[in-house]
């Protein structure tokens, strides 16, 4: 069963990523920042992409947007947005897709605004660049409406970025991202570096905007709490590969991959005081991953097979995908831990 079959009865994927590889060239060989990732993004869903720093989350986003810059390159793969492969398109063709169909809320969005232009002028720029000149009054009314969608007062239109707080700037970036009514928004750590209360306001703005426009969203981040609040499905990345994709409730209740298990156990909670779960941080050289599973050096359950064969992605009937030799798909479509099964019989 492939990834696409599982949801065949549900709505079709709007974005399909297949075997995407993004490598960075270094004198000692390529760093395999994103090494063959596959996933689908369905209409109207929020897919969380989590992993520690250096796991390739942001690089994957740049790969999808075709914004990989030197020394990076897209080494292989397909990014199919509404039946069109973005890889290999010319800059001109991409111009008609970026912002219009595929918008980015960048990491540190607060620093991505132009300090010399008012908020209104910047949003106007985006619209005029893509849609051509239009009546000034119409344009302003439209921008004011967008600002109110993200919960900002109209006077923000006249203000410069330095006159706004971090949370307000972040919401201006959300307003810009939705300016052209895109199909897919990629939000890269869009609420990190904000205070908890402001983070909640921005996150709720994102949720509201998503529901209002019916847009699909890829949310990149490392805060598992935020993922639990925002995402419909979560993909866990480790060292350039996706190791698990699952509906959010399933991932939190029953994480399969040993790395996901550690990730979820290490989230500090305000509900209970529990003993700290400590894990060692030895990772392989990203230029030269070991044969077999990429998590073998840190995995508490590592087996002989893990050092030889890379684990294939296995899918349960509920759409829970995991790349780990510990699991087999049973006849009724469940992921079964082979080790536990062997012990029980």
């Amino acid at each position: 069963m492939t990834n696409a079959d599982i949801h065949s009865d549900a709505h079709a994927p709007i974005l399909k990523v297949r075997n995407l590889c993004v490598y960075y060239e270094t004198p000692k060989g390529d760093v395999l920042a994103v090494d063959g990732i596959d996933f689908d993004l369905y209409e109207g869903e929020t897919l969380g992409l989590v992993g520690e720093s250096g796991s390739g989350k942001s690089t994957a986003a740049m790969g999808i947007l075709q914004l990989v810059v030197q020394p990076g390159r897209i080494a292989a793969g397909e990014v199919i947005l509404e039946d069109r492969n973005l890889i290999g398109l010319s800059e001109n063709e991409l111009r008609n897709i970026r912002w219009i169909k595929l918008a980015l809320i960048p990491q540190g969005a607060m620093n991505s605004l132009n300090p010399t232009m008012t908020v209104g002028a910047q949003i106007k720029d985006v619209i005029v660049a893509h849609e051509g000149r239009q009546l000034r009054g119409d344009l302003k009314a439209r921008i004011l409406e967008m600002l109110s969608t993200v919960g900002l007062p109209g006077r923000v239109y006249e203000l410069y970025p330095h006159e706004l707080s971090g949370g307000m700037k972040q919401r201006v970036c959300i307003a810009m991202a939705i300016a052209l009514n895109p199909r897919v928004i990629i939000a890269d750590e869009s609420t990190s570096a904000l205070d908890v209360v402001v983070q909640r306001v921005v996150a709720q703005t994102l949720l509201k905007v998503k529901q209002m426009l019916g847009v699909s969203m890829i949310m990149i981040g490392h805060d598992m709490g935020l993922m639990a609040q925002m995402a419909d499905r979560v993909a866990v990345m480790y060292a350039g590969k996706i190791v698990e994709i699952a509906p959010v409730a399933e991932l939190f209740a029953d994480p399969k991959h040993p790395y996901s298990q550690i990730l979820i156990e290490s989230v500090p909670s305000l509900q209970e005081r529990k003993p700290l779960k400590i894990m060692e941080g030895i990772t392989h050289d990203p230029r030269n991953p070991p044969p077999g599973c990429i998590f073998q050096l840190r995995c508490p359950f590592v087996m002989g097979q893990c050092r030889v064969d890379p684990p294939p992605m296995r899918a349960s009937k509920t759409g829970h995908l995991v790349a780990c030799h510990l699991y087999e798909v049973s006849e009724d479509g469940e992921l079964v831990n082979v080790r536990v099964a062997a012990r029980d019989t």
């Binding site: 520690e52 707080s165 709490g225 609040q229 989230v267 941080g281």
Partner: protein, 339 residues
């Protein structure tokens, strides 16, 4: 000799902001802050708050990087603003710091061993190579590292978690009484955070107290003994960490605790919150409660004067809010109650 290790009395820090046209205005970073840290038992005291709440200013005045506008910091009975050079050197030895950025604190040209050698040399901690090596090995052991694995490496060859643990080992080697840890885990990956928090717990067992400065309530909840939650330079609520977070009383702290995203998809945020426009948030700086513009329960009296700390719930649990003025017993001199 005092019973208290560190006593912060009415600490106030003002910064003067010069605007165009020669008009200057004062920004209160920290206002009438009081905190007592007992000599024993060692404890982890969390200072939490959002950006601009004054938590880093507090770290800087305790570490002696900047001077208070008014108030005192008394270490072991000695006011550090009047300490002589020798007393200051002793203070710097007994109060150590671990900073937020485990990348920026290292000189990338030196191997990790340089960090330890420099401090052994500066404080004359050991003589002879064997004694030095034993001292370093001993310090690294407590943070779960081995000298042969890390000492000959350059900082870029270590993970953020390892680098931060080495900073903890460095601080431990001097055998301080207090470590000021300013956001020590916020730049370390989630899966490695626990190892640093664990080191803090272990050092506490060794008799070292922590002033743990963070914006992350969940890590404070896991390891902290006492907590002070600051809002725009003043204490909003303080008490035992578990009490404050399980039963927050101040409206700001209630909002804060409620806004921490729960790592559980079944416990979604309830209701939507809105923030007042920026200028209103800064309007009540000099009179009344600073949380007034955002407070869902504000009353007229909140505008007249800043609320003192009132006892709520248990003896050592206090909140600076008039909601608790009538039914709770105001602690006699609210500013000088020990935590």
């Amino acid at each position: 000799m005092s019973e208290l290790l560190l006593e912060i009395r009415n600490a106030t820090k003002l910064y003067t902001q010069r605007a165009a046209g020669g008009v200057s205005r004062e920004v209160v970073a920290l206002q009438n802050f009081n905190l007592n840290i007992p000599k024993s038992p060692a404890s982890i005291i969390t200072i939490a708050g959002e950006s601009g709440s004054g938590k880093t200013t507090l770290a800087q005045v305790v570490l002696g990087f900047t001077r208070l506008s008014s108030g005192q910091i008394i270490y072991d009975g000695q006011d550090i603003s009047t300490a002589d050079a020798q007393q200051m050197k002793a203070y710097r030895r007994q109060v150590q710091a671990v900073f937020q950025d485990p990348f920026g604190v290292y000189n990338p040209f030196y191997r990790v061993e340089h960090v330890f050698n420099a401090i052994i040399h500066n404080f004359q901690l050991a003589r002879g190579n064997a004694a030095k090596a034993a001292l370093i090995e001993d310090s690294l052991k407590i943070v779960g590292l081995h000298s042969e694995d890390v000492l000959r490496k350059y900082p870029h060859q270590l993970s953020g978690g390892q680098r931060q643990r080495i900073m903890m080992a460095r601080a431990y080697m001097i055998k301080p009484k207090l470590i000021v840890a300013d956001e020590p885990v916020s730049m370390v990956d989630a899966s490695l955070r626990a190892s640093i928090l664990d080191v803090m717990m272990r050092l506490k067992e060794e008799g070292i107290s922590f002033l743990y400065i963070t914006h992350d309530l969940s890590t404070a909840y896991q390891i902290g003994d006492q907590i002070c939650i600051l809002y725009q330079g003043s204490i909003a609520e303080r008490g035992r960490t578990v009490n404050v977070i399980d039963r927050p009383h101040h409206p700001y702290v209630q909002l804060l605790v409620d806004s921490v995203p729960a790592p559980n998809p079944k416990m979604k945020w309830k209701g939507e919150i809105t923030l007042p426009p920026e200028e209103e948030m800064r309007s009540s700086i000099h009179s009344g409660c600073r949380f007034y513009p955002r407070c869902p329960k504000h009353m007229d009296r909140c505008l007249i004067a800043q609320p003192p700390l009132y006892q709520v719930d248990t003896v050592d649990h206090e909140a600076a809010c008039y909601l608790y003025a009538e039914d709770a017993i105001p602690t006699d001199v609210p500013q000088s109650v020990s935590v």
